[in-house]
């Protein structure tokens, strides 16, 4: 069963809140409005893929937990 690892580079995140709006429950903002995943490893979820593809600073990384390969963001 495929698993995805999510990570957010807080140094790249600008707090646009795109991810928390597209995928509520999957991302959360800290007190500086920087994002992080609620769960670092999840089953495939299209809205998380959408959030990664829509991030204005490409701060969200999505990789296949088994292979370590980036998940195709479908762009």
């Amino acid at each position: 069963m495929t698993r995805w690892k999510i990570s957010v580079d807080k140094n790249v995140c600008i707090g646009s809140a795109m991810c928390v709006a597209i995928a509520p429950g999957r991302f959360v903002l800290d007190e500086r409005e920087r994002s992080s995943p609620v769960e670092a490893e999840i089953g495939p979820d299209e809205v998380v893929r959408d959030a990664a593809a829509s991030c204005p600073t490409e701060a969200i990384s999505l990789v296949d937990a088994d292979t370590g390969q980036p998940v195709d963001l479908g762009q």
Partner: protein, 399 residues
């Protein structure tokens, strides 16, 4: 409906009017009912946290605000078919198609080209007798050239779509027939351009969108046309007037200009402060509550319109110390001028690069830049959804 107070009469402020008056218009209530000049009764929302919630929380719908029966005249007629007037998942499907062209990385890659356009425009300004109108000579052609090159729109056509753009982003004072006519002409123009590019694809964004339509059916022909228009319109009058309003701010703060001239490394931070402090937008686009939502001490009933007051967020004293002071060394990038959530400005990263290069060029190459007329003689275009200067006549060099 809400009991108690009758709606406050509300007219959006002009760029020069003090924000503290807006901050107190609802009395001590951060969220309050108001009657707008077009007769709509809406909830106005003030303060950083409340405004941020309205624009991020998906219980506030843009699509419902532009739906038939809800849509107000003005730029909402344009927004209705565009990503600006959609909610997820439709919004996400379309925005994803263009998001990768507007990332911070792509904007950074365009920086040398932006700097080159800036230098070319300043060369041309320097060749002309003073005073020079910077709207026609700099602030409008810069973003227009950049977005035209990205989209693959012939730069020779810019004059034509400036006129349409002016009408399409009109506010409630505009005649809706005038707006619909301009929209039809703009869509017609892009329809023809898309046919040309379909026959002869190029390395540009419209060609890429045509491929997304024809090869993988990810958007309709209508969506393709509207997206092309949205990118063009969104990409020039906004940036142009952010340059204009920022220059007016700098003219009022010569000490701040001196700091930027001494240390150009301050320019990126200065651009953020100009975005925070300046007031490009008039009344922001409305949202509609999809269910009863508690906000700022009241309950907004499902189905009612909500409008965030961005100026009160960007001047919220609980977030920005001494908020009415313009300070280019302020270390605060968390203004809401690009919005937040799914409608966070698609062109934000590109706009930042354009603004940074614009001010690097203007401050570095036009020392002594100043207004050629009293500020009170400057005219804003009437009936616009953003504060859009008609002309900005300037002088430079030794007074």
């Amino acid at each position: 409906m809400t009991i108690g107070s009758s709606p406050v009469k509300f007219t959006p402020a002009l760029p020069g009017e003090p924000v503290r008056e807006i901050r107190t218009i609802g009395g001590d209530r951060p969220v309050f009912r108001a009657e707008l000049p077009d007769g709509r009764i809406v909830w106005l929302v003030s303060g950083y946290e409340n405004v941020r919630q309205v624009i991020i929380d998906q219980r506030f719908s843009r699509a419902m605000a532009v739906a038939p029966g809800q849509a107000q005249p003005g730029f909402e007629m344009f927004a209705a078919g565009s990503i600006n007037g959609m909610d997820p998942p439709e919004h996400t499907r379309l925005r994803k198609l263009v998001a990768s062209a507007f990332t911070a990385r792509r904007a950074e890659a365009l920086r040398p080209r932006v700097a080159s356009i800036v230098n070319g425009l300043i060369d041309a300004v320097l060749d002309r007798p003073q005073p020079v109108d910077l709207v026609a000579g700099f602030s409008l052609p810069l973003p227009a050239q950049v977005i035209c090159e990205m989209l693959g729109v012939p730069a020779a056509d810019t004059g034509q779509f400036h006129a349409w753009s002016d009408i399409v982003i009109g506010d409630w004072q505009r005649d809706s027939d005038e707006i619909m006519t301009a929209l039809a002409e703009l869509y017609g123009y892009f329809g023809r351009l898309i046919e040309v590019k379909r026959a002869q694809p190029a390395d540009d964004l419209i060609s890429a969108l045509i491929a997304a339509r024809d090869d993988t059916d990810r958007l309709s022909e209508q969506e393709l046309t509207v997206m092309s228009c949205t990118l063009l319109i969104g990409g020039h009058e906004t940036t142009a007037n952010q340059i204009n309003l920022s220059l007016l701010l700098l003219f009022d703060h010569p000490g701040q200009v001196a700091k930027l001239r001494t240390d150009p490394g301050l320019i990126p931070g200065a651009v953020e402060e100009m975005l925070r402090y300046g007031r490009l937008g008039g009344l922001a686009p409305a949202r509609v509550a999809t269910e009863d939502v508690a906000l700022g001490g009241v309950t907004i009933p499902a189905g009612e319109q909500v409008i965030p007051l961005f100026a009160t967020a960007n001047r919220d004293p609980s977030v920005f110390a001494d908020p009415d002071r313009f300070d280019v060394t302020r270390a605060a990038a968390s203004h809401l001028s690009f919005g937040a959530g799914v409608h966070h400005c698609l062109g934000a990263q590109l706009a930042r690069v354009e603004l940074q290069e614009a001010f690097r060029g203007l401050i570095g190459r036009l020392p002594g830049l100043r207004l050629a007329v009293p500020a009170s003689e400057l005219e804003f275009k009437p009936g616009m959804a953003i504060h859009s200067l008609r002309e900005l006549p300037v002088l430079w060099g030794e007074p």
